[in-house]
Symmetry: C2
Subunit: 365 residues, 2 copies
């Protein structure tokens, strides 16, 4: 057993101080192409969720492969991407417009076509009161429905009433959307996609009963996307599939070859029964999904587990390595790990290392 790099850790990574977020450009480009091809085959528009990567460069590559626009979670994420030239943005969130968000959304509507989610009559009316009629040309409304994740969103049968209230207030309701987040449960992928389709169908009927047509029927999470029902959906919004993470690996959505983001870490301590790496919750996050077997995986040692995580310590079991070794840790949930970094260190297709900004890091408002 000799200290040093893990087998597949290139010379270019050797010089980086650890812990550090590393993006493999070859895997990224392959993932972007595969997700786009899959949506095309399903006959669905693709609007990837950019809260995952928060990167203008990655967003541009997604559009170049055929994505129709981006999904974001917040007004400030939309601002970051609009500033980067991305001009078709869906804020897939039930916004409550305070004075600051109103001011910023109005500016955004001068730069981009913007869809906004609502899930109550109150929030629809507030939106209508906040955005003057003359400024609504680039604004579309989508009603959020709950398809079984039980977070935000109205019941499907109630969506017509919310849509009618929005329309009555002078807003243009383009359709409905849902996030079938229960696709992250063990064996939940296909069942969540069935729930999603059924709920969206009910919502379309509910709008029709209110005399409203539905141009956009938007769904899709990374685990459920392969099972999406294109007889009702028009659009998918997967996020994680561009980058991959341990949660998707353990769910069976992807294999390790589709993991584009890892945290390069150094083994700093070795004890009987475990190792300590210098990557903790401040670089990996402490997210654990329903199927997670620990706090992250090691890309080169599939049998290893991160059994405990502190702010600057990952306790690793199931593999033995000398102190000073470098390992590639796969975060459980890449969206929150990316949000902890200012930059990606990009292992470029050519073999060198370059740096890309995490443009929308910390954009929560």
């Amino acid at each position: 057993m000799t200290a040093g790099l893990v087998p597949s850790c290139s010379d270019a990574l050797q010089a980086l101080p650890t812990p550090v977020l590393v993006l493999d450009e070859t895997v990224l480009d392959r993932n972007i192409a595969a997700v786009a091809a899959s949506a095309r085959e399903q006959g669905l528009a693709l609007r990837p969720h950019a809260k995952t990567h928060k990167s203008i460069e990655i967003a541009r590559r997604q559009l170049a492969e055929g994505a129709v626009g981006l999904t974001v979670a917040t007004v400030s994420e939309a601002e970051a991407f609009a500033a980067g030239g991305l001009r078709d943005l869906f804020i897939a969130y039930p916004l409550w417009l305070d004075s600051d968000k109103t001011r910023r959304l109005r500016l955004l509507l001068e730069m981009a076509r913007v869809r906004v989610g609502v899930d109550s009559v109150a929030s629809a009316e507030r939106l209508a009161a906040a955005i003057p009629e003359a400024e609504r040309a680039a604004l579309d409304i989508l009603v959020e429905i709950d398809s079984g994740h039980h977070r935000s969103g109205v019941l499907p049968v109630e969506s017509g009433a919310v849509a009618a209230a929005a329309t009555g207030a002078g807003l243009d309701v383009a359709g409905v959307f849902t996030f079938p987040g229960h696709s992250y449960a063990p064996q939940g992928r296909a069942a969540a996609a069935r729930d999603e389709a059924a709920a969206l169908r009910t919502a379309v009927d509910s709008l029709a009963a209110s005399g409203l047509a539905t141009r956009v029927v938007s769904g899709g999470s990374t685990p459920s996307a392969a099972f999406a029902d294109s007889s009702v959906l028009t659009e998918l919004r997967p996020g994680v599939s561009a980058l991959g993470d341990a949660q998707q690996w353990e769910l069976g959505t992807i294999g390790p070859e589709a993991i584009a983001v890892t945290v390069l870490a150094t083994i700093v301590s070795r004890r009987s029964g475990h190792l300590i790496a210098d990557a903790g919750s401040k670089v990996l996050s402490s997210d654990r999904g329903p199927v997670s077997t620990g706090f992250g995986r090691l890309l080169d040692f599939p049998e290893a587990r991160i059994s405990v995580l502190s702010e600057h310590h990952a306790t690793i079991t199931g593999v033995d390595l000398p102190v000073g070794s470098r390992v590639r840790i796969v975060p459980n949930h890449v969206c929150v790990a990316v949000n902890l970094a200012d930059t990606y260190q990009v292992l470029s297709s050519g073999g060198g290392v370059t740096s890309w900004l995490v443009d929308a890091r910390g954009r929560n408002t």
Copy 2:
């Protein structure tokens, strides 16, 4: 039930876009004074862990109240505080010096007195090889021991051998340190402090048996600090007690009146049985401690719980409020929540809101 602010939410906070990290200066100053007074009464030097607040302004206030120096977790945190004029820094971590960290530690030793942890003969020898003898005047070594948390650190009886190796390599070993992190277990506070004292005593004896004196015997976590044994310890390193968090509240270490940091959030959705606030894991973090009852608490509604947390949604049960209400959420673990923000919005003693940088945010290397 009327929409609006929670009772104690001041006008100055009303204008802030949510979600946002808010620091109450009055509570902060009271906490800093109380922690300092407690250490003085115990006859222990106080070296607060600055990984909690990552703020030069807060560090200066801690030193003004009598702290002898700061504890940090990484070389880059030390750099941030040295740049802010803090010149007595303990990197309480078993550093493994690669070429980048060596270069930076050597620069740091020109600016500050620096203590570094080691927990193996290999890391001590690497440190000695990396730092030329002529540059060691401001460098002290502390051997990390495991007092029951079972993370990094050598067994107490092995500390003499590591210290002897470090001394033999020409390093100045000042003493020993430990982190009794098992103080976070239910009812674990006093027992962890007893383990800490016993382990440190054994370590002092182990160094003595190798012919080495011990100037510094450093311990202490926020939950165990009140029980620290001053017959063996010389110094305490609590971090969280400056700011407070839900974990300490639920452990019984503090009451809600000692919570200085909250995330101000807006209720964006209201369903039968739960509310959704716009603060998720990208602002609160998803940390849960052994005694946590959820993903955070509401400062003004102690009966409420955050039962589920996504990136931009907190599912709140146990309280009903109108959409548009603002609530103050207490993060489970303030160290990781602070690391997600670029600034504190500070509710100043005078009543206005100002802004302080989180100077060492993201300083993980």
